[in-house]
Symmetry: C3
Subunit: 501 residues, 3 copies
């Protein structure tokens, strides 16, 4: 055993000699003060940060990298932050006056919630792109849209039964925070201060509502929107992690947006799960064929992709939808992407805050036009063409657009049955001033588009047929129409005689 230790020591000396000379880059005094306590108090996150790029290179050195390799997008980083690594203090004490959650902590003005605005000191391009991303408005797009707010209430709200009727309560904030707003983002607010005993005596801390949260559209105490840590998980902030599909899966796995599930059964997913452990997820730029052999979510939607000669195949983007012409999920019908990331401005002819009519016609003035759609499709196709022939890619997109048509048609059929039910008084809808989401038949209708049509489109977009056939796609779309029809037919017949069969 002694000899083993000796051998190990010799090896380590050699390694230290070859690599180690590069001294650890300097840590600011303020960050060192944080670390002095927090290495004891919260050892897990300190250790995680120590493995991060933030802890191992100064912004000043990072700025010297060649353009394609650089991950800082600022033309210049402020004098004060260039020379030391990006540690606790660099993020948690910047812009103290704009942060309502700033509090005095051992002589520092610390804030709890680090925001895109804080990150934009070094990463302004990413933050600016992200603000054009519909995801940055996910909180308001859900909760400030009366139709969608009602979907939240009728999903998350507690119901009672009084022996005759069911009664819905609105969704409460705590429940919303751990369901819809987990992904859409909460509004984080300071509700006061409280004193707590710590190992260093009594200390005061802010009381926060809507916290913890890393939702993509989080409303931050400094007024900014979004959370970089949705994908670049604290405190490692690893680009490798953001490129792996598990990160997207946190919010894109359920039946309403089953991207991950479709990926898992696609050929691309199969290659990733089978071979991906040998790929280089840290390389910047990301070289097709060399660093990876099949795309993950990030490859198609976000990353800077190059070929082996360094030619750019796709530019890095944090406006995730700028290679996506169609918005295929979450809404009643698939439609061209909205122009504005804030979708609460949309009104259809019927006066509803929806990008299509209830019968599917797109509300075009709020949506991107065909030129923009072509541009986005071309950007996406360029990624596909790094491995596939033009015929292949063209046919794949033709299939996808055909599926948009057929799934919209199947949603329209379900909608027609619902409209008939409302018309015949078998359920109460818009005309009766009632919620369109609260009754059994309406929930069947919601599943038609929110689950089954969406899932079928994802399966088509990413060629994960197994999911779109029987797992949660076409089988259920077809069955659901028959279930809705059966319900209506039966109900009307039983109650007062209706459409004959």
């Amino acid at each position: 055993m002694k000899r083993a230790i000796l051998a190990l020591m010799v090896t380590m000396v050699i390694l230290a000699w070859s690599f180690g000379v590069q001294a650890q880059p300097p840590v600011s005094e303020a960050t060192q003060a944080c670390l002095d306590c927090h290495a004891q108090v919260t050892p897990g996150i300190v250790a995680d940060w120590q493995k991060s790029l933030h802890a191992n290179i100064t912004p000043g050195s990072a700025m010297k990298k060649l353009a394609l390799k650089r991950m800082i997008s600022a033309a210049k980083v402020p004098q004060g932050v260039a020379g030391t690594v990006v540690g606790c203090a660099e993020c948690h004490t910047v812009n103290p006056e704009t942060h309502k959650d700033t509090f005095k902590h051992n002589g520092f003005q610390v804030h709890v919630v680090v925001t895109p605005k804080d990150c934009s000191i070094c990463h302004p391009v990413e933050v600016a792109q992200y603000s054009k991303n519909i995801m940055s408005h996910a909180h308001g797009n859900l909760l400030n849209n009366p139709v969608y707010h009602n979907l939240v209430d009728t999903t998350d709200g507690v119901q009672d039964f009084d022996g005759t009727r069911t009664i819905y309560k609105p969704a409460d904030a705590v429940t919303t925070a751990e369901s819809c707003a987990y992904c859409h983002g909460t509004k984080v607010e300071v509700k006061g201060k409280e004193a707590r005993e710590t190992e260093l005596g009594e200390m005061k801390f802010p009381v926060l509502s809507g916290w913890p949260n890393q939702g993509v559209g989080r409303i931050n105490p400094d007024g900014s929107m979004g959370s970089c840590t949705s994908c670049h998980t604290r405190h490692r902030f690893s680009i490798a992690m953001a490129r792996k599909p598990y990160t997207c899966a946190e919010c894109h796995k359920g039946p309403d947006v089953p991207a991950y599930k479709v990926y898992m059964v696609s050929k691309h997913g199969n290659i990733y799960y089978s071979m991906g452990k040998d790929w280089n997820f840290d390389a910047v730029p990301w070289t097709v064929g060399k660093d990876f052999s099949a795309p993950t979510c990030a490859t198609c939607h976000a990353s800077l992709i190059v070929d082996q000669d360094g030619n750019v195949i796709a530019q890095r983007t944090h406006q995730m939808n700028d290679r996506s012409p169609w918005r295929i999920f979450g809404l009643i019908y698939a439609h061209p992407h909205p122009k504005s990331a804030d979708t609460t401005i949309i009104k259809n002819k019927a006066g509803l805050p929806l990008p299509t009519e209830l019968t599917g016609e797109p509300v075009s003035q709020y949506l991107i036009d065909s030129r923009e759609m072509s541009k986005r499709r071309a950007a996406m196709e360029k990624v596909c063409l790094a491995c596939h022939s033009t015929t292949w890619v063209k046919n794949q997109f033709a299939r996808f657009e055909h599926t948009i048509e057929t799934t919209n048609a199947m949603t329209l059929t379900a909608t027609k049955i619902l409209l008939k039910a409302w018309e015949m008084g078998a359920a109460k809808g818009l005309a009766q001033g009632d919620s369109i989401f609260n009754e059994a038949i309406e929930k069947m209708w919601v599943e038609q588009w929110l689950f089954f049509a969406n899932s079928t489109r994802f399966a088509s977009a990413m060629a994960g047929a197994d999911y779109g056939a029987f797992a949660n796609g076409r089988w259920y779309m077809s069955k659901n129409v028959q279930k809705m029809y059966d319900w209506l037919h039966f109900r009307l017949k039983a109650e007062e005689g209706g459409p004959s069969k």
Copy 2:
């Protein structure tokens, strides 16, 4: 190629010199006799065992490790077993007289089913803790509880249709063995002996019913309960494997207890799946930040966790629920954990063997009190606090307890509809002496708590919102209440006029 081989050989010689001097520790004569045949007969398990710690260290050497590193919990191991590795004979021939499955095999008294009692020779603390774990009683808690036994019968039993009615047969033992009892544990019984031709001539072997099985509450032929191999899979018995979430997933993935599915979409799961391949799952003790960056199931519920200075954050426990104040699944309502691992002793006011009334009130005398609950929560929080702030952890637990309230409320609503159905004669329940699980409306009610409320609570406990929102949580709780109401309303209206809508 020759040079490659030469280079490899040189490397191996150096490695052998540095590590290899430590000769392979001795194997007992009895085990060697087993190996002599079984290396041919069952090569897979022999090879697996050879990679195990059991095969590579003697109990005597293992005893010399420092307390935190030691995996043997016996104060002393018996003289006979200390000097040789733990091989076939050490486990399969101990306590031959207490094992009803002992049989003569080439001169040895061998038993098939190795039990916690056998393992307790070296691991008594774990076995004692485990016996207080509700899991060790999983067989009886299911099958000796008349209400739950009926749930098994109405789930696993074959049904017939005679043109007018459906008829249930009780679940048969073979079916139960491969469904409920796969996890809950079978009763393994010796049903006789049979002769079989082998390569060494005719041999006699015991005939076992309920075998194979590694259920957590297995009733063993020596009268003991449980199966260490549920988690410490034969014949590698790897601690790394028990710490990975796939092990728990064997029984905690279905909609009745979707811990794994929630973990997969939680931030913790995301970190594990993205970065976990570089973690050290074999380290004992397990150092937060150094060995792993996010918890797996074992981190929070079982493992010995330390910080980088060796301070204990959580003690190892095999009474898995002793960091869990609430029992959140399997029962109609979430409630404080039962005091006794044997839950068949519980009776509610209505005389049912349930820890709450049908309307949700806990049967407190059988359940842990608020002091014990606080103690358990504090133990769990200590794990969380290794990475998270007090505010974060406090808010997370407040959310979780709020979810316990709202999910219990949603179960109560479903129960009220069912009670109304029974009252109005739309279904037959307790008052009619009928099963409460056998009719369509009753199965809807079961899903409310067994699937949807449970899933929502798991999603809350582990912050895997995607699962608790649309995948199998709140959406379905809400829809199910409306479906049950729709059914009742419609049924009563169609049959004889009922609650107006």
Copy 3:
């Protein structure tokens, strides 16, 4: 840093010396011509191919391997292909005259779709075995069977609602291509030629329908059936990948055939996911215990398995079902495997193209007999016995066959309810000349066998109880019978009085 680079260079020189002398084997002139452009045009697949065995060994050298290690099954490879690696031209330009998709491309006669017939130059045994595999006929077995074609139409076809009735359109070819035929295989047809601008000027390419596709029963432009790339994914053609469960999951994960989902919660799956990253998936032959510690799909169904002394435990097979006595999915009842891979030849007594009657009796003349079943079971058991005792294996198979009985019984019960519904006029079926898949009650019936009974059998076959209990198995079989009964009872009562309850 300089020293680090120096150290790395020294290491690389040593490695190069020890391994690198082996010069890269020669590439044909034709392939080199392809590579000269395609390294730029489609860099991803070129890089992938460069990592493949095809690119790194010539058939001539591969032929010299010992029989158990050899992956070429041809007794002799044609003179022309033996001396250079298997590159672009070797596959995409063979047999140009038989390929309807052959087109002139820079002086070469290139075809797009490489087929089993092309691969059979080196791998004739695998191709011949595969042709006896029911999978090779998956296209016709689905689409040339009128009953199953109707299932496709009523699943994939767009429906409309005219205010009174729902109307089905047949499934269109584009939809089928990305749902059922993704796995079953499309018919790839040449629909003409089109000119496209490329970097090398205008070029003509064939227009293909049904493309892209790698379905297992693809009908190829050269008249052959199947697609080796279903499992041996282009352009790495890795045996490791084919052995990993993700490959099978592409088509075996949905509720109709949830092999992957069952595997994930089985003990075998648990071992694979926890420990498999250290296994050798490239070894040929594949040694139990040494290369892997638990089976993947391929281990039991396809691979050449040996013990550590090189004794063959299972021969490689590409007739995947030749270790499977029972066909447990896709059909209404589980039954002995069909004799012929082409199942369209089957007719039951009622004249339907089904291997059983609607009431379950097998149509024996088309199915393998008990002798063949025993032979297949014995072949499978030999794999199990590499790790498990005879008692274990025997009991496991007894459970499985018991489950075939009980699940068939539960399907029969659902069928009886449907037959009653047809008889009483509550739905329209065979007697009325109507589809048996188009109404709500019929879709419930389909789920009984296509989802729930199938899933329960998979869970039994592979011991993944969690999936077969509540995830998609017995709970749903039981609930579905009650739902169907409830529907029938209620419907008849509401409409005209029916079976009393």
